[in-house]
Amino acid sequence: MPLLQVKNLEVSFALRNGSVKALQDINFSVERGDRIGIVGESGAGKSVLGFSILNLISRPGSITNGEVLFEGRNLANLPAEELRNIRGNRISMIFQDPMMTLNPVLTIGTQMIECLKAHRQITDENARKIAIQKLQQVYIPSPETRLDQYPHELSGGMRQRIVIAISLLMDPEIIIADEPTTALDVTIQAEIMELILELCERNDVALIMITHDLGVISQITKQLFVMYAGRIIEQGPTKEIINDAQHPYTQGLINALPQMTVRGERLQQIRGSMPSLNDSLTGCAFNPRCDHAEDICTETLPSYTASGGCKVACHLVEKMKNQEVLS
């Protein structure tokens, strides 16, 4: 049995005029020590997916279908107290913006110790020791003094390190990192990424990395899931997808990356923008932006086609492959 298994997950937001589905038919599983990546544009549903694993979707959103099985227990309908025991303890999260994730009026120490105390019987003194130890693990200089400081006294990179230290406090099995470097300086981004990778490897923690940065994800994840308009449209081993993407959307994303070897050329971009969740599109959600779209794309929703080690939700995978071979 996989450590975490997401089955047919569907998340909807109830609005005044009906509800919209932010996630549909999400299926994947995570093994111990796995590193998976979830990529997509803003609005593709990546963050919603991250939050829904811990059932942290706030009103008016809710999980309307499917299961999130963690060691066989379904987090989607677990009683609040049992769920609380898993959050921050077995599965923890790193948020996007370290400027916003730490409470401005509580000291770093308070925010670390309270997490330890929420999950086990421990004295303040021992909790402090563990907190210091975790701060050392994320290479924070003079951790003792940091504990008595407030978030505003620390830099963004430092704060994200503290958030990572908090996520490691209870030695979780899974860490969900929701764009952990987006809000940081480019020079610090790499450091933080390396740190997360190192800590996950050393502690045998499974990592679910959510990002829009393909560069980042290609370096650290083994499995890749590409999301578009609330669905996974391509999944498979990261290397295979980066080197030979099958779905036109993934190809577009990869082509849009700036290349060091080509100078003075315009970056390629995917024309148009992602459809709003309110739009009722039939067929493949990507068809209005797809250069290859045919009639069938606007009529029926594509199912997954196996291609190498990957699964691709596109009607035209076979056809495009044949063309490639011919040309």
Binding site: L56, I86, G88, D97, M100, V105, T107, E114
Partner: protein, 325 residues
Amino acid sequence: MLAFLIKRLIQAVVVMFVISIISFSIQDNLGDPLRELVGQSVSEAERELLRDKLGLNDSFLVQYVRFAGKALQGDLGNSYFFKKPALEVILAKLPATLDLVFGATLIIVFLSIPLGVFSALKPQSIFSKLIMGLSTVGISIPVFLTAICLIYIFAIELSWAPAFGRGDTGSFLGLWDTSFLTIDGLSHLILPCITLASIMLPLFIRLIRSEMLEVLQSEYVRFAWAKGLSPSRIHYIHALKNTMLPVITVGGVQIGTMVAYTILTETVFQWPGMGFLFLEAVNRVDTPLIVAYMIVVGGIFILVNTIVDLIYGLVNPTVKLIRSK
């Protein structure tokens, strides 16, 4: 700390200067003080003589400098009516007014926080909707009407509480006469305090509710959930502390404003405080008393705001009043 207090003191001087100019110009334009000082039988020539003697014919600037010079020595002139120093007359009435403001503040603090927090945590519940509905009603009813209704229901119909006056007072350490120390005094306090609180209470409930709703949506509260903290810790430690920051700021200003609101409440309840005295002074064109009232209230405002800023500095770590090291 010291630097903060000195800065505050300089601000206070500026504010008091502005208040003194405003109140002095009012004095200068508020009818003829001679009419109150002397009877109708005094002839115009004698009046003119008296005006000269009192310096009322001097220019505005000369009069102001004279006024300010005396005011700095604590002399705000004699009340025309009481024939006693105006400041003394006002300060004698201060304890009664502060009793009222203190009582109303207690009511506001102990009701607005639980009600505001509850209606933020359970916005869909019927009780929350009831609180919100009643608070709209509370904001819209004028103070004197609330007072009259309370007197009619609780003093006249039910005779649960006295309708007017201050009742017995007890001495607090021999320094201060307060109604809080006797049963009779407390019973007299109830209705006026509720009346005074009725204006601010709905405002604070709504303020706390909306601040709390906003804080509950914040990333750090979401992160607190992701850490697996208990709901009570998230609500009362993480959310409430942040909610109270803007509430403290607004609260300081509003407590000051409440001192001014006592005018209406004290009048309806015949409460022997500063506000009641002020209204009488206006009726009698007792200008030194009016000026003294404005300056004392201005001073209270500054004092309350300074205290609130100090408290704010203690609660909010991002504000450093006290430079460490």
